[in-house]
């Protein structure tokens, strides 16, 4: 097998960016149907009450908090892998760290949705944000849940930066190849 030039490697890597196959749209349609079904289920839960998720007295936290912890755990794994490889200066690390960082950001985004779904009145979730309201009510800073909210947002901002900054040279390559 002939050794590939960097130019050919770039072409191979960027093929899915410039050519969209029919299979991609089929996958988007199938997965999008799942997302729509989830929104429908969430709407029904908001209308009928959180009891439709099977929770009853005296069990107040269930599936959603479990899922939240699960996805946050996945995102921690991504951060751990990319950080350890970076600290160990492993030269082969780049494709692995990119995967790990993408896992971090997307697992965190998915995990962050679950506390919202868990709330009894999710349309009022913005009361967790410390903003100066006309009634002078702030979030209760003694509550661990408020700090949970802050921690997730800080972690999300950090990991998005961690993903975005190393991806800038790759965007430059895409820009150089783009014709449209």
């Amino acid at each position: 097998m002939m050794a590939r030039t960097p130019e050919q490697i770039n072409d191979d890597l960027l093929r899915p960016v410039f050519h969209t196959s029919g299979r991609f749209f089929v996958a988007v349609a199938v997965l999008g149907a799942f997302v729509l079904a989830a929104f429908g289920a969430w709407g029904y839960q908001m209308y009928a009450g959180i009891g439709v998720s099977g929770l009853r007295w005296p069990v107040y936290w269930g599936f959603y908090i479990t899922n939240f912890v699960f996805w946050i755990g996945l995102s921690h794994a991504g951060t751990l892998i990319s950080a350890i490889l970076r600290l160990a200066n492993a030269t082969w690390r780049r494709p692995v760290t990119r995967c790990a960082e993408v896992i971090t950001v997307f697992a965190l985004s998915i995990g962050g949705m679950f506390p919202l779904v868990h709330l009894g009145r999710p349309w009022l979730a913005f009361w967790l944000i410390p903003y100066p309201s006309e009634r002078g009510i702030w979030p209760n800073f003694r509550s661990p849940l408020v700090w949970d909210f802050f921690a997730i947002n800080t972690y999300l901002i950090g990991s998005v930066a961690f993903l975005t900054l190393p991806i800038v040279p790759d965007w430059a390559t895409v820009r150089d190849k783009a014709t449209g």
Binding site: R121, W127, F149
Partner: protein, 169 residues
């Protein structure tokens, strides 16, 4: 069981929106309008005396007529609890203020105290040492539930003692 109205209530510091809070009279208030339904307070409560509206409340006609006009209807997704009949407390206080006097002992009766045929419950001002409820609470028959947790509950349960059992030891 009813809310023990703790002085160091575990439900209060965990609420992210101050829906569960301590009012100036020492009651564990619950602000339904402020509750977003995290259900953290109910998880923190060692007595399990908080109740969540897991479903949208419905009253078929004519049952809607039984709703108390002095108590707000709590919507779905909101935590509720025993308030010691806060509307009755406030009504008595407003009445006393209008008549320019202090609230008298026994003037306020929560619905549970009023409706108990055996007179098994008493309600009053614990801060006033001369009130009937304060004297009952001081008796050595009094116990507080899960006191060892440090929640400082204000509800006192009176045990039978030897004298009442006829043993007179």
């Amino acid at each position: 069981m009813l809310c023990q109205q703790c002085d160091a209530a575990p439900c209060e510091p965990v609420c992210p929106t101050y829906a569960s809070y301590h009012n100036s009279e020492g009651l564990n208030g619950q602000v339904y309008n402020r509750c977003i339904g995290t259900r953290y307070c109910a998880n923190a409560c060692p007595y399990n005396v908080r109740f969540f509206n897991f479903f949208n409340p419905v009253w078929d006609k004519p049952l809607h007529l039984q709703l108390n006009p002095e108590v707000s209807v709590r919507p779905v997704g909101v935590m509720e609890k025993c308030t010691f009949c806060l509307p009755r407390i406030k009504a008595a206080e407003i009445q006393a203020k209008a008549e320019n006097r202090a609230v008298q002992d026994g003037e306020i009766t929560p619905a549970c105290v009023q409706s108990c045929p055996a007179n098994a419950m008493a309600f009053g001002d614990l801060n006033d040492p001369s009130s009937g409820v304060a004297r009952l609470a001081e008796s050595n028959r009094g116990t507080k539930l899960l006191e060892e947790l440090g929640t400082l509950p204000k509800v006192v349960y009176l045990q039978r003692d030897a004298w009442h059992d006829g043993k007179n030891t």
